[in-house]
Subunit: 248 residues, 2 copies
């Protein structure tokens, strides 16, 4: 399992991914964040969940086209860029899908792409295994793929498109991933975190947090303490006195 997310606020983007990958009982580490950058002109950050074999093929093809000045290098808008990722997923589907399904594997690969092309706003898309894109909105300013539920309540409560500063959004992203790693052992470190400031058109802020990273441990411990304190400060649940029956 994987867990990746992207957050879009007025100030920019935060992208985050775990690095655990498993095939059967083989568990290993693999980075799930990829950059495609032409400084000053275009920036794309991709994170991915699903079959590692499939996402590697997609990224390999995207890379080849990008180097040749096509694909993501030529997309006129971010919507077109999301379509490039979707078309590339479909190309891989043409190669692999029927052979996977013949052996009862599903064709499962998801991407989140955040980025910006000069002259347009930064934006954030989720691209499904079918190749169709979904755009983040100001009402729903984050997108998740993989093991999404454990880490969602904290994002639901914290992220506001207009008002959440990027530095704060990156804390929410890290807590969201940390909560997921706590509840699902198949999501694991290192955690890749990337912060993109709107209109910078370059990538300058990245952090890879390994399991033993003291910052990761500190955030984990302090968050747990803060939650406990927050619960203790809540008013108690007021119970009503009943006698072995409850009203229906």
């Amino acid at each position: 399992m994987s867990y990746c997310l992207g957050i879009k606020t007025a100030a920019g983007l935060v992208m985050a991914s775990d690095s655990r990958t498993s095939a059967g009982d083989q568990v290993s580490v693999c980075q799930k964040m990829y950059l495609f950058v032409k400084p000053g002109e275009r920036v794309f950050v991709l994170v991915t969940s699903g079959s590692l074999s499939l996402s590697q093929s997609v990224v390999t093809l995207l890379d080849k086209d990008f180097e040749a000045g096509a694909g993501l290098a030529a997309a006129p808008t971010l919507y077109d860029a999301a379509r490039v990722v979707g078309d590339t997923i479909r190309r891989v589907g043409e190669m692999d899908r029927q052979y996977l399904e013949r052996d009862k594997f599903s064709f499962n690969v998801h991407f989140i792409m955040g980025g910006q092309i000069k002259g347009a706003e930064h934006d954030l898309y989720l691209i499904y295994p079918q190749g169709n894109p979904l755009r983040a909105s100001t009402d729903a300013p984050f997108l998740q793929i993989g093991e999404t539920k454990y880490g969602r309540p904290i994002l639901d409560r914290g992220i506001k498109y207009d008002s959440t500063p990027l530095e704060v959004a990156s804390k929410y992203a890290l807590i969201s991933i940390d909560s997921t790693m706590r509840s699902n052992m198949t999501v694991g470190p290192p955690v890749d975190m990337l912060l993109y400031k709107a209109d910078s058109l370059k990538v300058t802020h990245h952090r890879r947090l390994v399991a033993s990273d003291p910052d990761l441990k500190e955030i984990h411990t302090r968050w747990e303490q803060s939650l406990r304190r927050a619960v203790s400060e809540l008013p108690p649940v007021q119970f009503e006195e009943v006698e072995n029956e409850i009203e229906e």
Copy 2:
């Protein structure tokens, strides 16, 4: 969808359930908490998720047997009581399962049963649609059914069998349900909360919180504020300076 949970600590039990039920686009309210009590001798609290039709049948049969002094009324241990629930699920399965599956509905009904029989410790079981029981342990002192993931991280972090007082556990249970209702619209109020003190052998503390309940609103609002403050007090994520590349 439903969300129900049970928490077992050294001091007793907390049981909680939402009340939303849906069949297709028909959404309505239905209590999912049931009591079977012989004061001073035995107490069982059941919460349920899955098909309402199936859980109603199970409870109807359990009720009939209980009134006749059999089933839950006669089970010598709590393990046997969990087996009674499982056997009753199997009886309903014999009646309904093949007809559901013929029309591609799955036989889906889950129960959590908390309770105590005089002379033995209070305990907590989950009973699967197949009828087999799973017991809560001191290491895993809570059980969930239905839409379980959104509300799990807060329980993972807060509930300790030995040390969490029941009043605090009931706050965790309510936050867990509130988080789930926030993230999944098919889980909804009223919320039934029940607190059982070990060795009391009677049910005295129950609360039903409707959507407009000021206590529910206060907990919801204060929790959201507390989370935001907790995030703001965390140290910022320290990014490393990179230049359009990240190490693999």
